[in-house]
Amino acid sequence: MDLELFLMQLFSGLALGAILVMVALGLTIIFGMLGIVNFAHGALFMVGAYAGLWVASLTGSFWWALLIAPIAVGAFGMLVERVLIRPLYKRTPDDPLLLTFGLGYVLVEAVRITFGTDGIPFSAPESLQGVVDLGIGYFPLYRLFVLGVVAVILVLLWVALEKTRFGLVVRAGARDPLIMRVLGVDVSRLWLLVFGLGVGLTALGGVLAAPMRNVSPEMGTLVLAEAFVVTVIGGMGSLLGAVVAGLLVGVAVSMTALFAPEMATIVMFGLMALILLVRPQGLFGRPGVGA
């Protein structure tokens, strides 16, 4: 085994995992606060990628796409929360789930109508193309960039969650929704913001992923399943779990591709099945929560 190839594949897996971290974090944050599984999450990832594509074609700049697309899709998420999901909080947890599931279905078809059913290539800006020599081997610059962006987002999120009142409330609320009433928090506005944030994160994942693969209306389906796998492995409702499991799954997929390409997609589901058998609450989950 060539060490350089091994390192490159490891690195590529980390970049893949970083995207999954964005998606799974969004899913986990929404679930932790609102108690609903957002089944439109994969579709919103895809919408993020298309929004990026569209903004890039309008402005001619990848950077604007990277900035505007997640914010715009996040704002759309807030609209969805307010108009469609809000009337369902009084009902069983199934109803918001079924609604977001229907929304995902509609979004995929809406994108097919607007952008066509075929995949569209989306290239990274020239300044991010090519490879860079890190001393131990040559690595694609764009993947390095993806890792950097995700690292920055994680730091920002960490600061927002640990150092601000907003974060205090989110962390407390994820543990026990009653606490928020005690703290006198405007729950309705908080849920709006959290849903927007979660959707924005997955949309950012979509924009970042776009140059690494073709953009197609179906790209969200696999991502949704991958995000679920990451959430189950990491532990239900655990943000740290989402980060660790996201990277783990990325690396596992990438490494399997090196040895047995046909097993690459299958391996993460196998990993999830294994976790369910030996530690159903996930790596970082507390027992009794979801398992």
């Binding site: 279905y105 509609v106 399943a225 299958i266 589901f269 058998l277």
Partner: protein, 331 residues
């Protein structure tokens, strides 16, 4: 430690479980069979009638788990597609006759359901749907990769069943009408079986689990085992629908295992009304009618189905049939 903190999370259950009562309940199997008998004569095409038959049964099997046991699965394509593939492979690769092949298909989807069910039931509440979705994706990608056996992306071909000998009669399966009534026999048997299960003590047990898991456990029900058995029965019934689809189409498209197929059955069950006997068939009929009519003037009929589905979740969560019988059962 306050006592409320030990309460299990609210059991997932369809928004409003409502079942038929009185006449509709007592005569549900003969009534269903009567309706199925006239279906090819009243619907615009026989192809539509066969699809209503197959997807209706698929939804009935799904409803046993979702509507009656209160478990929302997003992975039932695995059992529908699994049944179809295993039947097709049994004929194409092992030269089995159509009937043993169908039996093997149903047995295979039951085993698949036992494995997926045992894993997903280890999680509680809302995670159940995530795990079922992920595990069904595992089946999908396995079928995609095992192309020597499954035909991969092109689907499984080469197992046309042209005629079937039943009790001395020969059914010509190339004739749409004969094929319809041939397949209807299996649907009718499956419906009779479902009706029997719902009337049985086990039927009462799954309703108890749906209504209140905590209480059911305190009463002495092994909730996990009850759920697993329901999951397996549901998977087996969806497997019957899958084998019927294989015999009907003479191919198994890879799409049979796709998330899209799991989605369709959730939508059909919701549109018709979860937790009622006729609801899933009504839902399948409405869904396929929308597809049939809307696809005449747009290739994007899924947008319409999706919007209708969202409106139903918001405003008519009991579904069409569920709302009708709730109105009929009103005090």
């Amino acid at each position: 430690m306050s006592s409320t903190s030990h309460a299990a999370p609210a059991a997932l259950r369809p928004p409003q479980a409502v079942g038929e009562a009185g006449f509709l309940s007592r005569w549900r199997v003969p009534l269903s069979i009567a309706v199925l008998c006239v279906l090819p004569w009243v619907l615009p095409s026989q192809a539509l009638a066969v699809n209503v038959l197959i997807y209706g049964l698929f939804a009935v099997g799904y409803n046993l788990l979702f509507g009656y046991t209160g478990l929302l699965s997003f992975g039932h394509a695995a059992f529908f597609g699994g049944g179809a593939y295993i039947t097709g492979m049994a004929i194409a690769h092992f030269g089995l006759g159509w009937f043993p092949a169908m039996l093997v298909g149903v047995a295979g989807s039951s085993v698949l359901a036992a494995v997926i069910g045992a894993l997903s039931i280890r999680t509680r509440g809302i995670y159940f749907c995530m795990v079922t979705l992920a595990l069904s994706q595992l089946v999908y990608y396995t079928a995609l990769q095992a192309s020597n056996w499954t035909g991969g992306e092109n689907g499984l071909r080469g197992f046309t069943v042209a005629k079937a000998d039943v009790l001395g009669f020969t059914v010509n399966l190339l004739d749409p009408m004969q094929k319809y009534y041939f397949l209807m026999v299996f649907a009718a048997l499956a419906l009779w079986f479902v009706s029997r299960v719902l009337n049985s003590p086990f039927g009462a047990a799954i309703e108890a689990v749906r209504e209140n898991e905590t209480r059911a456990r305190a009463c002495g029900y092994d909730v996990e085992r009850t759920k697993l058995l329901s999951f397996i029965l549901s998977g087996a019934l969806c497997g019957v629908a899958g084998t019927m689809s294989a015999i009907h189409l003479s191919i198994v498209p890879l799409d049979a295992l796709h998330y899209h197929t799991s989605s369709i059955v959730v939508m059909m069950t919701m549109l018709g009304g979860a937790g009622s006997f006729f609801g899933p068939f009504v839902g399948a009929l409405v869904f396929l009618l929308i597809e049939d009519v809307a696809s005449l003037w747009t290739s994007h009929w899924q947008l319409i189905v999706g919007v209708v589905f969202i409106l139903f979740v918001l405003f008519l969560p009991k579904g069409i049939w569920g709302t009708l019988i709730a109105w009929r059962n009103r005090p």
